[in-house]
């Protein structure tokens, strides 16, 4: 009896070990690749941010917090942070708001609805770089379509990307156009998940369309709105492609953003340590948003 129990345990133990091995075998490619190309570079970024890195000479010089002290006094970097924040804090709410309105309109059934939806979503599948090249032409002050239309309407023509006051708003308009479709599709899916009986009950109780929107749609969309705001903000912090193509960060650094700034420092000025410190600041921004998300999602768990 005892020996039987013993051998059963041995068999189970072997099965368990085999299944641990199986599990580790299955996850090992992902773990190895992530360790090499994601985690190791992340740790290196932190490490390099305390060094002067000279890649060609293969030399690392420890400088302590000097990179961060320099950053804090670097007018161009501070401008890049401000531009990135202005960009994110404008594009995210505007895109989310417009997307929500569109999604509510799209919850009606009307002719060619799918076609319209596809049109709104099309910028999303288009390469940001190629789309930005097209907008660069549209924004051309002399021959671009936008100024031609303004001239047709007898409205004042704009310098668009050429003026340090208008360039950032021009980039923002482009990015709203680019991201609107994604947010709209997410909102449409969320709206479909709201049971129609809520609306039917509210209608019977005499609630008008506006009341139904404010009392039912808006609160039930709140988790989706949180997701969209967080996700878009994290992406907005990483903006790069359209800025490089549309303005290259100019004029006079008026559209320089954090990723473009660290790209320039690293790959044009070869200041890898300094660029790593800038990357750490970017990471802290993303981390901050993620922490906010964590607490928000916990709040919803309590609410339901």
């Amino acid at each position: 009896m005892a020996s039987m129990r013993h051998s059963a345990r041995a068999v189970l133990g072997r099965a368990h070990r085999r299944h641990y091995l199986q599990a580790y075998l299955f996850i090992s490619p992902v773990i190895v690749l992530f360790t090499l190309f994601r985690i190791w570079p992340s740790l290196q970024t932190l490490y390099f941010s305390f060094f002067k890195v000279e890649l060609l000479k293969g030399r690392l010089t420890y400088v302590g917090l000097q990179n961060f002290i320099d950053l804090a006094q670097d007018e161009i970097f501070r401008r890049a942070i401000a531009n990135t924040l202005i960009y994110a804090l404008t594009i995210v709410p505007v895109s989310a708001f417009l997307a929500m309105i569109l999604a509510v309109l799209f919850s009606e059934h009307f002719r060619l609805r799918e076609l319209f939806k596809a049109v709104y979503f099309a910028p999303m599948v288009t390469s940001t770089v190629a789309a930005a090249v097209v907008w660069w032409w549209l924004y051309n002050p002399q021959f671009g379509l936008f100024n031609s239309v303004l001239r047709l309407l007898h409205l004042p023509e704009q310098p668009w990307l050429l003026s340090s006051r208008m360039a950032l708003p021009s980039v923002i308009i482009f990015s709203i156009w680019k991201t609107l479709g994604y947010n709209m599709v997410i909102y449409i899916a969320a709206l479909q998940a709201i049971p129609t009986m809520f609306y039917e009950a509210a209608t019977i109780d005499g609630a008008g369309p506006f009341q139904r929107f404010v009392r039912i749609t808006l609160p039930l969309l709140a988790p989706t709105t949180t997701f969209i705001l967080i996700y878009n903000t994290i992406f907005a912090f990483q903006v790069f492609d359209q800025v490089l193509v549309l303005t290259g960060g100019g004029p006079a650094f008026s559209t320089n953003v954090v990723v473009l700034e660290l790209y320039t420092q690293a790959f044009q000025r070869y200041r890898f340590g300094y660029a790593s410190a800038e990357a750490m600041v970017l990471f802290l921004f993303i981390l901050g948003v993620t922490v906010v998300q964590y607490f928000y999602s916990r709040r919803y768990e309590v609410a339901y």
Partner: protein
Amino acid sequence: MPRSAEAAAALPARGGARVQAALGSARRLPLYVVVGLGAVLMILPFYWMIVTAISPAPDIIAFPPKWIPSRITLEHFQEAWAKAPWLTYYKNSLVVATVSVGLSMLFGLFAGYAFAVYEFPLQNVLFLVILGTLMVPVQVTSVALYVFLSRIGWVDTYPGILAPNFASAFGVYMIRQAIKAVPMDLIDAARIDGAGEARIVATVVLPLIKPTIAAVAMLLFLSSWNDFLWPVIVINSESLRTLPVGIALFKDPYGFINYGPLMAGTVITVGPMLVAYAFSQRFMIRGIALTGLR
């Protein structure tokens, strides 16, 4: 207006379907105007890109703007085609996107299965570490990744372009969620029949989670196809440029007003993806909705 809309909305409850149909089209006029105007604004850049690419040079800078070309010309395409190796760009984009999606899905499928089905030491820690990499995008790690790859001689190579995208944390997460919804009984039944774990993944689990696999693969392909920051950092040779890098560098010498060939270049760049989108937009939009809402 609000009152009539309210009345129309309340009608179905009273069973006035015919009246509602009559009211419907009138009520929808503002809807059509708003959605239609917005759609015109959304599509305008695409329209103008194509019109510029096929218009004769004088039309392009004419005022008032020529909404319809006076004649259709392909000369800008000929010029654009002669000035850059587009086929090479296509080939590179295709190779990079295909390999990255293929490997991400293969590794993601097995890792997702392990995280969904097994229990093993450090499981949660490892899963959180994988998800944690989502918080450190290549925008943050690019500098250190470049330094690392230059040490192992991967700068300006295919593996170098692929390095951050050999595996996808998003893919592992989505696949794990999908496999968690697969009944364990099915997997156990296959085990009793003597199937090995790898075979169970391929023949039992994979067919059941096809929609997730298709949606994730499509999203990863799209993001690889349009990826720019990392390729532009790691690629030096023209022979390795992907389409976005190609079009960005194609633009630079066009500091003058030669917009016809430039727009022909953008049509060449985005054309195939837009055509693919036109044929599969329902699938693509559904895929985004599926993966966006966790």
